[in-house]
């Protein structure tokens, strides 16, 4: 079946990830500018305390819908190119996709993906 890979990454890593995905012929990609925080509540080096407000740092979100078989390959690429090794590199989520429909042609499923 199909899977949606949704990942939140550092905005300055977007170009590298995008180019790497292009090389393995990933055609469909949606990017959104988002704000968010993780375990650190938006603070560096664990400087968060209960009394402080949550800080939402700018990130970008990529959404890619692919064949199940391509998931591992894409995860590897995102990990390789989005990683700085510091807190705030983001996360990758993989979810099942029930169906795909191309609006222009009404093509469905695999045909809509090709």
């Amino acid at each position: 079946m199909f899977k949606k890979i949704e990942c939140i990454i550092q905005p300055f890593k977007l170009e590298e990830v995008k180019e790497a995905l292009k090389k393995i012929a990933i055609n469909g990609l949606t990017v959104t500018e988002v704000k968010g925080c993780g375990v650190q509540r938006g603070y560096k080096n664990g400087s968060y305390e209960e009394t402080k407000p949550i800080v939402l740092n700018p990130k970008v979100k990529l959404e890619i819908v692919v064949d199940e078989e391509d998931v591992e390959k894409i995860i590897d690429i995102i990990q390789k190119y989005a990683k700085t090794g510091h807190i705030g590199d983001g996360k990758i989520f993989v979810t099942p996709v029930e169906d795909i429909i191309r609006i222009r042609t009404s093509e469905k499923g695999r045909t809509a993906l090709k």
Binding site: M1, T105, S106, E107, K108, G109, R110, T111, K114
Partner: protein
Amino acid sequence: MGIWEMAQKQVDKVAEILNLEDWIHKKIRECRRVLIVSIPVIMDDGHVEVFEGYRVQHNITRGPAKGGIRYHPEVTLDEVKALAMWMTWKCALLDLPFGGGKGGVRCNPKIMSKKEIERLTRRYTAEILPFIGPEKDIPAPDVYTNPEVMAWIMDTYSVDKGYAVPGVVTGKPIEIGGSYGRNEATGRGVYFCILNALKYLNLSPEGIKVAIQGFGNAGSVCAKLLYKEGCKIVAVSDSKGGIYNSKGINIEELIKIKEETGTVLNYKDIDKITNEELLALEVDVLVPAALENQINERNADKIRAKIIAEAANGPTTPEADEILEEKNVFIIPDILANAGGVVVSYFEWVQALQAFFWSEREVNLKLRERMEKTFWKVVDLRESKKIGMRMSAYVIGVGKVAEATRLRGLYP
């Protein structure tokens, strides 16, 4: 050449391409088990008629045998053996955990009453009873057998066991453990294959011309779905003849007319054509959905379709196949094109074993996924090995059975 010999020759050819070990080749070109039964039936007027029936298990290496039962006056053991073998390759190609089987009873259901057919079915089931079962061999509908016949088989088997065993047959009515979408599965599978073939050849479904030979279950469902997709169905035929309209036929109306009057010929504003003329039409897609050997060495060079989607079993003879390959016709071979039926049979069996049933949407999505995945696998092999679509499908199917045989080894 007889049909069984033809089926064996096919295996020989594939064995050569796959470079199969001799012992595996020898093993898979024969049928594992053949059961011949005589079926005495009390006819409505009181006299007893004895029919001959068969159940063949060609291969059960990858799982229980799977395949339909046909009632036809001309059924022969050789035919049933060949069909059982094709089921083995088909199930393997589609990655279903089944082997191949087939059954048949030589009778003429068209002149028999419903009660006679029921008694015949029950006695036949009783005779093959030790042979079948959810984990051994699972029959399904075929030529002139339907969900009602499957219900009788299920009942006879279940009465013998003392409890309901829905997993012993597929193609049952929904109420006793059948699956949503099973009835339309074969036609829907053909339709998915055609859409993907169009995609592969860079054609859009909208407005493409389609001719359909045969308006039974597979033909009519496929026609309906293509019609809804915007294809122009210019010709349709059934056993009584064919109809043609260059502007396209309204399939929903045609289905009603066929149901009410028994033939497609009563549709208005059409030219009548013969089956032979239908095959030679200049169309984009030709769907042979009737009987075997319709496209043969006599008419193959007249075919002008870009795509042939084999909804029927064995509609193209090997001689015709060569001619079509030379003409560069894109063939979606029967073991791929009409596999939708056995795919949803598999879903039905799974649902029955789990006693947990799926929605029609779920069934159709899963069917589409499996058909499309297999279609592109066959296309990829065709391109990499530079062989025809049919050979590619066989190479995948036979290859999987061979690998399973190799892994299991030879007993003792």
